[in-house]
């Protein structure tokens, strides 16, 4: 597929404020993203198919190379789209993708408030990967200020790859939770927030 089509779609859609191309991945940043939560959609273009998803990255999330923390994809919808796109003309491809983006934008629009996003994640906790769960518990503390999540949060530690920097930060987080250290937690969260904001500033001004 011609990547130009995706740039055209971005230009003609007023719901997005930034466009980032990362290899075969096209990232659109939703213009209602706040200082607390970046949102958007991604289109991945492979040789014979595309995949679409919507994403969210709270500033309160463990730092990692990939700026996108939570990504949600509907495989069935993608497979339906890919059937439609086989042998299609550029204008039809654009039409199909625009419709898909509109439907993803509606989903993203529901998540603008960090509180709504937290409840959305909570309702899908079983579908999240281990690292996403680690980020969920961090957000859970940020929203509820409750140290009692320690017992629940520690359960996922064995599932985290020990070489990942998120795991190291998560161990610190667990230790602060366990000891209910208010001040240390404030410093910990502030540091994470500043780091993520800086990363996003750099990404969006690049």
């Amino acid at each position: 597929m011609n990547s130009k089509i995706i740039r055209e779609i971005y230009k003609s859609n007023k719901n997005f404020s930034h466009y980032i191309k990362n290899g075969g991945e096209h990232i659109f940043v939703f213009n209602k993203s706040s200082g607390e939560l970046k949102l958007g959609i991604t289109i991945n273009v492979f040789r014979c198919k595309v995949s679409t998803s919507y994403w969210a990255s709270p500033m309160i999330s463990f730092p990692f190379i990939d700026p996108i923390v939570f990504k949600f994809r509907d495989e069935n919808e993608d497979s339906h789209i890919n059937k439609k796109l086989q042998g299609a003309t550029d204008s039809y491809v654009q039409e199909v993708l625009e419709n898909r983006i509109n439907s993803l934008t509606k989903a993203v629009n529901e998540l603008v408030e960090i509180g709504n996003f937290y409840h959305f994640l909570k309702s899908r906790l079983n579908e999240l990967g281990s690292f996403q769960k680690a980020n969920f518990y961090l957000l859970c503390y940020f929203v509820n200020k409750d140290f009692n999540i320690y017992d629940e949060a520690k359960e996922i530690l064995p599932k985290l790859n020990k070489h990942n920097p998120i795991t190291i930060s998560f161990i610190d987080f667990l230790s602060i939770l366990k000891n209910s250290e208010d001040e240390r937690m404030d410093v910990f969260i502030k540091k994470i927030e500043i780091g993520n904001k800086k990363k996003w500033e750099d990404l969006l001004t690049y």
Partner: protein, 113 residues
């Protein structure tokens, strides 16, 4: 012989070459592991420090195929057409990059009878 007979998850194959060769060979029982090819999808899956990442990300590992949830597959397959071994540097990279719960399976062609 490990046989995956009941499968509720997709098998993800990386790259065109393994897909062409292996789907044929697997379907005619030539390999030690039977992949559930009826529920197969092509996908560029790479893993870095336990997290699914973009294809070509520096230092990431890219198994030839995986089975299970795409973010944290149950099995990752290294499909061999040449020497039936996995090199130590490759093994180390897989150990670092695959999710903790993913088991690496080396698949080699059956030889002789």
């Amino acid at each position: 012989m490990l046989r995956i007979t009941k499968h509720t998850h997709k098998c993800w194959l990386n790259g065109a070459l393994p897909k062409n060769i292996y789907s044929q060979l697997i379907s005619c029982d030539t390999f030690v592991v039977l992949l559930p090819i009826n529920n197969l999808d092509g996908c560029h899956l790479s893993s870095l420090l336990g997290v699914k990442t973009d294809w070509g990300m520096t230092s990431s590992s890219r198994p030839d195929a995986t089975y299970g949830p795409i973010d944290e597959p149950y099995l990752a397959f290294e499909l061999k057409t040449g020497l039936p071994i996995i090199y130590p540097y490759q093994q180390t990279k897989y150990n670092i990059n695959l999710p903790t719960s993913t088991e690496l399976v080396l698949i080699v062609p059956l030889t002789g009878n």
